[in-house]
């Protein structure tokens, strides 16, 4: 009769041991913390597909909305390959974008398929600083370029809207697009970036990324609702992610410039 009781105790002990250590117990290393938070792409997964809705509001422009299908595959060499295919509205329908991460400091490869011209064009590396399809995100934002290759400040504890976070400051080692430093608030409960503020010359705030909501995908937290606000224009792009599928196998052949013309 004692054996079941012992088993229950053993299970409870195992569960207790498997619980995460209280975050406040030790301050993480800045580089490791940032690497973990940016390990997956801006859509929150490194292998799978999702439907993404981009809503652009504010500023002196009329609202816009774009819906796309995002697919990401972790390549055999470690770099991720991401294909974004636009579903609506009609003026961008069928357009597709391929991002192939290159190792180290090498610029990533980017290609854009233009359905009206039936052409796939290479995009220059520094064009990453340009707007991603007219949104407040740049190509560089989607791959966290400014914070991945940067010098980091010591990690500090912080609270943001009542959410316990780690605060870390990143100064890009190869500054581009006028970004001089990025202040990150990373959630202590799940490691997602809660807020990211990009500062430019004279320490002027350029853009602010905010996490609005997240979901659990295959046991991993992932952003499901986030926004990027551009201070100068007063414009905000809200990014909503749903229909996440990380189980269906993906084929590397679908992540090449030649495949962009085929949905």
């Amino acid at each position: 009769m004692n054996r079941p009781r012992l088993t229950r105790w053993a299970l409870c002990a195992a569960m207790l041991l498997s619980l995460p250590t209280p975050a406040a117990a030790q301050t993480p290393d800045a580089a490791g913390l940032v690497a973990s938070a940016t390990a997956r792409n801006g859509f929150g997964f490194d292998h799978g597909t999702a439907r993404v809705r981009l809503s652009i509001t504010g500023g002196d422009q009329a609202p816009k909305e774009r819906v796309l299908r995002a697919r990401t595959l972790r390549g055999s060499t470690g770099g991720a390959r991401t294909v974004l295919r636009f579903l609506s509205p009609s003026e961008v329908q069928g357009a597709a974008f391929l991002l192939v991460e290159q190792p180290g400091d090498a610029p990533d490869d980017m290609h854009l398929y233009l359905p009206a011209l039936k052409r796939t064009r290479r995009i220059a590396g520094s064009q990453k600083d340009g707007s991603f399809m007219g949104t407040d995100f740049t190509y560089a934002d989607l791959e966290y370029r400014d914070v991945k290759t940067a010098a980091y400040s010591p990690v500090a504890e912080a609270s943001l809207d009542g959410v316990p976070c780690w605060r870390v400051e990143a100064r890009p080692t190869a500054p581009a697009a006028g970004v001089s430093r990025v202040v990150l608030h990373i959630r202590r409960d799940n490691g997602l970036i809660q807020r990211s503020e990009l500062f430019g010359a004279e320490d002027r705030l350029l853009k602010r990324y905010s996490l609005r909501d997240f979901a659990t995908v295959d046991g991993q937290p992932a952003p499901s609702d986030a926004e990027m606000h551009t201070v100068e224009t007063g414009r905000t792009t809200r990014l909503t992610i749903d229909e996440v599928d990380t189980r269906t196998p993906l084929d590397p052949a679908d992540f090449t410039p030649e495949s962009l013309s085929r949905g």
Partner: protein, 468 residues
């Protein structure tokens, strides 16, 4: 031009496309005989793209085109008074199945496959025939200037290397007008016009457009699989560089046409009321044709073409280059005699993009015949600069300014096409999108150049677009 574009995306992987476009274009100067003063066209496109399974995708679309043209009153076209014409045609657009298994992909159906890296003039973009119905391809055009045709493509793609093999089972000519249009091929040389003038008397205006490819490409290769074409391309992409090489064994879409010289002279004489010549030639030409003689002898040749192209990202620009070589392609000497000559086609260019506000492409391209002669349209060698710049001023919501320029480097010839488009703000993201655009097409050049031959076709157009 007025356009209505409706695209519906369902939650699943099914996309329905319904698109309506209409265009109106006015001749800016009535400076040549038998020109159309006003041209209008409409185009309805319906299509669907759906995933039949994880591995199979299907796409099909079709278009109903209609066009009407009004000539200046009192003009003659060939042997008959110029008439207003209106015609309607239905066309199967892209229609294909795409199936993949691992790194292999099979595409079959009516396809557009564009090889090469240049945007404006691409020597290696040889698979699909061009659509010349609205004139030579215009720099800055917003649509691919090619027609989908039946073909089968097998591709094998890995991380580092891609290989494509394309088989086209049938010969497919370029699509253009031989006569009966301001953009007709016969306008390249006035003496050619007479050879086709009889079509104005014999053919209903509503059937004229359907007849044009037959007039432009007489005696084409028959639709046997043995008359197919094959091409292959191998490429690598990575670390900032795209590099490709290709080879094709395909029909030269420029036929060698030899018109009966006396018939041509006879028709020109009839057009110009040259009675002595008429009386001299008619007794010789009429019996010959009555006994089965051909008015036009046409031959089609296969051409072996090899090409390489590359695109490299350098800081803020992408630098591109292409070259294609062939041991024999059909060219016409200035005397209108067709010859087969080895030739090089080449192009270099740069793309530049500054955020969303400004983008520009500049390309230099040319054709260098490797047999010295004076050729129609190309002289002893042709080179041109072409550029397109697009500007979306951030201060003004919805404005897009496009300026497209072409300038010949080997002759005095140029073309310019400025366009301004405006899309007023939408009440909501789901509201219809209206776009109003106005533009000009201006071109001029010395005799023997493309811009010179069509230099009378300066036009202004107005376009309205409505889209979801």
């Amino acid at each position: 031009m007025m356009a209505l574009l409706v695209a519906l995306a369902t939650p699943s992987d099914v996309q329905v496309i319904a698109r309506f476009e209409a265009a109106i274009e006015g001749d800016l100067a009535h400076d040549a005989a038998d020109e159309d003063l006003l041209a209008a066209s409409t185009r309805w496109t319906l299509g669907v793209e759906t995933r039949l399974s994880v591995a199979t995708l299907m796409h099909i679309e079709g278009t109903l085109r209609s066009a009407g043209r009004t000539p200046s009153p009192g003009e003659w076209r060939g042997l008959a008074p110029a008439r207003g014409r209106a015609e309607a045609t239905t066309e199967l657009g892209e229609a294909w199945l795409s199936h993949r298994r691992g790194p292999l992909r099979l595409d079959v159906g009516q396809l557009i496959v564009r090889w090469g890296v240049m945007d404006l003039q691409s020597p290696n973009d040889v698979l699909n025939p061009m659509d010349f119905r609205d004139g030579p391809p215009r720099v800055g055009a917003t649509e691919a200037p090619v027609r989908p045709i039946p073909m089968l493509r097998v591709s094998h793609v890995s991380d580092d290397l891609s290989l494509e093999v394309v088989w086209q089972p049938f010969y497919t000519p370029h699509w253009g007008n031989a006569a009966d249009s301001d953009w007709a091929a016969t306008r390249l040389d006035p003496s050619l016009a007479g050879a086709l003038a009889l079509t104005d008397l014999l053919v209903s205006p509503s059937a004229s457009e359907a007849l044009q490819p037959l007039l432009l490409t007489p005696n084409p290769p028959e639709a046997w699989p043995s008359n197919g074409s094959i091409a292959a391309r191998i490429g690598t992409s990575g670390a900032g560089l795209d590099l490709n090489a290709q080879v094709s064994w395909a029909w030269d879409r420029t036929p060698t046409l030899r018109a009966d010289p006396e018939l041509t002279a006879l028709l020109v004489a009839a057009r110009e009321d040259d009675l002595p010549t008429l009386l001299r030639l008619y007794p010789r030409v009429a019996p010959r044709l009555a006994n089965g003689g051909r008015a036009v002898e046409a031959r089609h040749e296969r051409t072996l073409t090899a090409g390489v192209d590359a695109a490299v990202a350098l800081d803020t620009v992408v630098v591109k280059a292409e070259v294609a070589a062939t041991p024999g392609r059909t060219l016409y000497e200035a005397t209108l005699q067709p010859v087969r000559a080895p030739a090089l086609s080449w192009a270099v260019g740069v793309d530049w993009l500054d955020d969303e506000a400004l983008s520009a492409t500049l390309e230099l391209s040319g054709l260098t015949p490797l047999r010295d002669s004076e050729y129609l349209l190309f002289g002893r060698g042709w080179a041109q600069a072409a550029s397109v710049a697009q500007w979306r001023p951030p201060q003004v919501e919805g404005i897009e300014v496009t300026l497209a320029l072409q300038h010949a480097l080997t002759a005095r010839a140029w073309a310019a096409s400025p366009t301004v488009a405006w899309s007023p703000p939408r009440a909501s993201a789901d509201a219809l999108r209206h776009t109003l655009a106005a533009g000009l097409l201006l071109l001029d050049g010395e005799a023997g150049t493309l811009m010179g031959a069509f230099g009378h076709n300066d036009a202004a157009h107005l376009r309205y677009t409505l889209s979801l």
